[in-house]
């Protein structure tokens, strides 16, 4: 896939509604920012805990504490107006909103309870051996070849297989999952050139997803079937069950694929950190946590004010979009020591790579499980990881990851 850069020049300037708050012409979606966002985020944090973005007419919060405050006050900073730039309360949503991600309390609670039960830590335990066996097979195959692609052969292949099977979707056509997810995550940003090109190249992905979420096309023992069973029991509607399958597919694949790719790329770039993990594979889960902090996958999303509210001394109007920059919070020196250092021995819990509060990622336990198994299996079997050239970055408005990572790996001697 190839993406064009969004036009950098002309834009309609939105005047900051209140005095005394920094107003910037910063574009978090510019290709230059996406290439290496972190120095830009630092500038943004220095400009203040809350800043006005003229280009989009939104506020942005980038400090750890402010981000946490916004995410843990869902009554004031709601999700039902959409968690993207577009405001569902004033504009027509491009698709039917998700009944969990884009819903507020009290409706949200019941749906989240169903989701939490179906993907509970206990339910996931049953999948452990299957996931481990698959990771071993894939990594053994890569070791046989020596030269391989960390993203294509593992970060991408693993979730498409094991997560796809766990949800219970058909095998045929799974290649449509990624372009669909790419569009969903672009759609949380502006309708820029990148998003338009993504839409133009989408092909039949939307129709395929629609078909894949139907009950008759799901296996009878996966998460998908379990959502429909919850509908039979009257806990959610049948339409809601289909929407939950859709949310699971759009929220649960690109994110895990990119996270594992980010893990491999960062371990490849920091041989000392790889050595620590390789010598103690049980550090895999903590290492994954550090990857989510240091190079977060889901960089930014929005909340919308439900009433007038003062935040960091700034009075916000009702119905105001606020960009929540979790990837910046995860690098905020006001909270972390040496935030720009990739350190797999760090206690990175408390990072907001999975969000925070009542909408904190509902799939985080399976995402952690997938990531932990892949990293642990890799650390158990592999001695060295050598990058063969620069990994190729994928440009998306809100998620960060790679499409390719040529590398050479060697096996541990036993």
């Amino acid at each position: 896939m190839k993406f064009t850069q969004p036009p950098e020049g002309e834009y309609e300037k939105h005047i900051v509604p209140v005095k005394g708050v920094s107003s910037l012409n910063f574009d978090p979606y510019a290709a230059e920012v996406l290439t290496n966002p972190y120095p830009h985020y630092e500038e943004l944090r220095e400009a203040g805990p809350i800043v006005w973005l003229e280009r989009y007419g939104v506020y942005v919060v980038s400090h750890y504490n402010t981000v946490r405050d916004v995410l843990t006050n869902p009554d004031v900073f709601c999700s039902s107006a959409g968690v993207g730039l577009s405001n569902f309360h004033t504009e027509k949503p491009w698709r039917q909103p998700s009944i969990i991600l884009e819903a507020d309390q009290p409706e949200h609670t019941g749906v989240r309870a169903v989701f939490a039960r179906i993907l509970s830590p206990r339910a996931l335990k049953k999948l452990t051996t299957t996931f481990e066996a698959e990771a071993e097979t894939m990594i053994d195959r890569m070791l046989e070849n020596g030269e391989c692609d960390g993203v294509v052969d593992l970060a991408h292949a693993f979730p498409i297989k094991v997560f796809g099977d766990a949800v219970g979707i058909m095998n045929e056509g799974r290649e449509h999952l990624l372009p669909y997810g790419d569009m969903v995550f672009n759609a949380f940003g502006p309708v820029n050139g990148r998003f338009k090109e993504c839409l133009a190249n989408l092909g039949p992905a939307t129709e395929w997803i629609y078909e894949a979420c139907k009950r008759e096309n799901l296996t009878d023992d996966g998460f998908g079937a379990a959502f429909y069973a919850a509908a039979d029991a009257g806990e959610i509607t049948h339409e809601g069950a289909g929407l939950l399958v859709r949310t699971t597919l759009s929220a649960g694949l690109d994110t895990t694929i990119f996270t594992m790719g980010n893990a491999l790329v960062n371990l490849g770039r920091h041989p000392d950190q790889w050595a620590i993990l390789r010598d103690e594979p049980k550090r895999a889960r903590a290492a994954l946590e550090e990857v989510l902090r240091y190079d977060s996958t889901f960089h930014s999303f929005y909340r919308t004010t439900t009433r007038e509210i003062e935040l960091e001394g700034v009075k916000l109007d009702k119905n105001q979009k606020v960009l929540v920059l979790v990837a910046s919070a995860n690098r905020d020196p006001r909270h972390w020591t040496e935030p720009d250092k990739f350190d797999v021995t760090r206690k990175a819990t408390g990072n907001m790579g999975f969000g925070a509060g009542i909408h904190g990622c509902a799939g985080q336990m399976i995402a952690r499980m997938e990531g932990e198994i892949v990293l642990r299996t890799l650390a158990t079997k592999v001695e060295t990881i050598e990058l063969l050239g620069e990994p190729s970055l994928h440009f998306n408005n809100t998620v960060r990851g790679y499409t390719s990572m040529p590398m050479r790996i060697t096996a541990k001697k036993h």
Binding site: A113, P121, F354, Q364
Partner: protein, 107 residues
């Protein structure tokens, strides 16, 4: 300022001064109380912030939500009537002391 007493699994007692409106999990994490992992950071998704609340204090906290109930069924330690997820517990204004017992870890 309210005091939260954490009774650790090994019998040790930790008294931590908290702010009114403080969260029981967050206070524990900030004070490095051993035995509360809180992997999901309070999203009620991981069930690794399990505590037992003394019976006579149970009513000061908000009721167990549907999401918390689902997670309590997944705790790896013994589930008791006093079981709560500490990330869902906020110290109400006017309460000056609460004791929570940490469960004995099980594999």
């Amino acid at each position: 300022m309210p005091i939260i007493t954490y009774l650790l699994a090994d019998g040790t007692k930790m008294n931590i001064e908290a702010e009114a409106g403080a969260n029981v999990m967050r206070t524990a994490i900030d004070a490095d109380v051993p035995g509360i992992l809180a992997e999901c950071g309070g999203a009620a998704m991981c069930a690794t912030c399990h505590v037992y609340v003394e019976e006579e204090k149970a009513s000061i906290f908000s009721e167990i939500s549907d999401v918390e109930e689902e997670m309590l069924e997944c705790v790896t330690e013994e589930r008791k009537p006093e079981s709560r997820l500490s990330c869902q517990l906020t110290i109400p204004v006017g309460v000056d002391q609460v004791t929570v017992q940490l469960p004995v870890p099980q594999d």
